[in-house]
Symmetry: C2
Amino acid sequence: MRIVVDAMGSDTHPEPDVAGAILAAREFGDEIFLVGDEKQINAELGKTAIGDLPIRVIHASQVIKMTDKPSEASRVKKDSSMHVGLNLVKTGEADAFVSMGNTGGILAVAMLHTLRRIPGVKRPALGVIFPLSNNPLLIDNGANTDAKPDFLLQFALMGSLYVEHVRGLTKPRVGLISNGEEEGKGNQLIKETMPLLAESGLNFIGNIEPKEFIQGKADVGVTDGFIGNIILKTAEAVASYMKDIIREEIRANLLTMAGGLLARPAFKRVGQRLDPAEVGGAPLLGVDGVVIVGHGRSSAYAVKQAIGQARLAVQRDIVEAIRDGLGS
Amino acid sequence: MRIVVDAMGSDTHPEPDVAGAILAAREFGDEIFLVGDEKQINAELGKTAIGDLPIRVIHASQVIKMTDKPSEASRVKKDSSMHVGLNLVKTGEADAFVSMGNTGGILAVAMLHTLRRIPGVKRPALGVIFPLSNNPLLIDNGANTDAKPDFLLQFALMGSLYVEHVRGLTKPRVGLISNGEEEGKGNQLIKETMPLLAESGLNFIGNIEPKEFIQGKADVGVTDGFIGNIILKTAEAVASYMKDIIREEIRANLLTMAGGLLARPAFKRVGQRLDPAEVGGAPLLGVDGVVIVGHGRSSAYAVKQAIGQARLAVQRDIVEAIRDGLGS
């Protein structure tokens, strides 16, 4: 297998991107194409004894930065690491693309300039795996801020296929994220989407509240990209706020501080359980190729995990599964 | 001051509702009208020596339950505690209405059958105060699942006036909840609302992400009722999930368990800081009278706090402030 890693993706590129690629080449034995500024990548590679690991450097002269406007940058920076990398997947020279870079940029380059959509896909969508007990997938997560009922139906189908194939779950439970099931609950979009899901043949468990999603009652949570992103960001912010106030209150006196020290291994395990790096990156579903998007603040380990996820998606042929599922 | 308390509101009514009313009568000295099933209320009152506390029981033969459909119940159960109680405010016999009951029911009875809107108000909105360091107000929170830009503009104005008058903050910072400020971020509603807020004369600090709201960067977060409710429910669910896994990991071995015991006072303070009871109930803004809605699972203390909040809203005349603010 040949996996492209965007060496210019993470906030502190190319360090974690290259280091993660090395970890992956070592662990999985796959061929890795590191795409980006040749000089910077080679300098980074030079820091480690990589021996005969199957790592190849492919030069790209431009970088789509976090601060770039996605649609403009995707049009102007045609020699970006994203263009070059995604083109390798498009031409079949590589099997998957992994990047910790600007999500909007990846979306725009993949959808508009390189891979394009799988025929029949109305809108590609970004699935995010939540680091909860059952690792549920929330889809969409920012690719489409104004969705229509038939988009959501496809998000549900693609998300369900991803969880089924890549995670090996049979009949994943699909829930439509809403603010309740009572009369008057749900906005117009939810009300129109619900009957489509009920007739979809998916294992649709009905409308669910964020609480039920967090508690693991669904394997796939379906929502539009705006709300998906709001849920993700609220969850991250609340977890971080709680960590802060717990630390603050524990440090408030010596006795609780001693307790905090003793309980440290427990806090560490909590941190690990909530670490998004463990579950890998976010699959961009509906484009004609395997694309995994990781967090800008990813560590080398997180990059390696995202590469591992990309390989699974290739092995289980998620693109073909979606093509079949859509009957296209 | 005369405050109506819906004795049939909470999940375990009338116990916490009546007990909270007693606490409030004792602490504030205000006259409390307990509205609901006379027998049940008197039985509950009989459990405590209330002496000459200014508490009056007003009979209402029906109850709008949590499971009732709001619009239907508000039409059919004309002698519900909500109808009777809100009518007392409408006729001027009381100054405010406090209920821990069905939010949709309160909304429907207030908007359609009793108080109605302040002239000029397009849609009343429910503000929720988050138990965070700066106690920010999120508005709307479920009253309007499909909002328009001019609704959001009024939510911002009403929320800002509430925070200014009732909490005494000058020039409250108003943020529009979005998924980011970059190009392509925000849905259609956000994009159309932003310029209205920029020209509103409010202290508009721009679009903010849920993270910034949680971190206290705004005093008023503006959003539609669907998203507001999703944020609230996600925040509650994540906080509760974290509590659960911290407890689980601390109990996993004896050493961390000992640490947890020592750190217990810190956890208790964290729990207090995050307790919504501390900040009171949710003001229903835009109806022609003071209405505070509390949580169905409220304790007597939470009911008392909500009553305290209602009195402040009356003292600072929030209804008049909104009437003035709308120029109506």
